[in-house]
Amino acid sequence: MSSSGKTEFERTILRNTKILGLATFAWVFSMAIATFGPKFFWESMGITAFALLVNTGCGVGMIIANMKHIRALDELQQRIQLVAMGMSLGVAVVFGLALSLVETSGLLPIEADISYVVFLICITYMVTLIVASKRYG
């Protein structure tokens, strides 16, 4: 154990989490650039295509960082992640399709935007992660 009181395992998880955080920030930042750049900074389609390419690259980097992060977790932590991801996927499919049906059927005057589903996935993932962690805590 190090002087910081953290085990080698915990240090590895912390390092991987930081890398994942940085990769996620890069992806979100490049997404913001690709979204708002054409509106406020440039008009060239070439630059927009390049910004999208960078954003996709950052996204792939984030996926790889996430896989590395999950692989390094121990079996309980992996189980907690599995529960959180499973719940997020289920909620996304059920409520995403329900939202789409509400729009196509004209039941309510709403616009089914993908960002609603992404937001729902994030909230579900975080809440499930906290609940599952407390359950095993």
């Binding site: 085990t7 932590q77 095993y136």
Partner: protein, 65 residues
């Protein structure tokens, strides 16, 4: 499944962090195993058995059995 993790750890005067480091898992996992909230996988159970110098049956007890 019942286990003797807490007793065996205490006998060796190890903290949960010590045991977690020796088994290469998180403290949360050791805590969950000790409280019976989580049953470890077979590889982790074997690793613990090797560490304590015992057989798996001496550490874990099947409550259904």
């Amino acid at each position: 499944m019942k286990n003797r993790f807490k007793v065996l750890r205490a006998e060796r005067d190890w903290t949960q962090a010590d045991l977690a480091e020796k088994l290469d898992v998180s403290r949360q996992t050791i805590n969950a195993i000790e409280k019976g909230k989580f049953d470890p996988s077979l590889p982790l159970a074997f690793k613990a058995a090797r560490l304590f110098g015992m057989t798996i049956e001496q550490i874990f007890e099947d409550e259904a059995g």
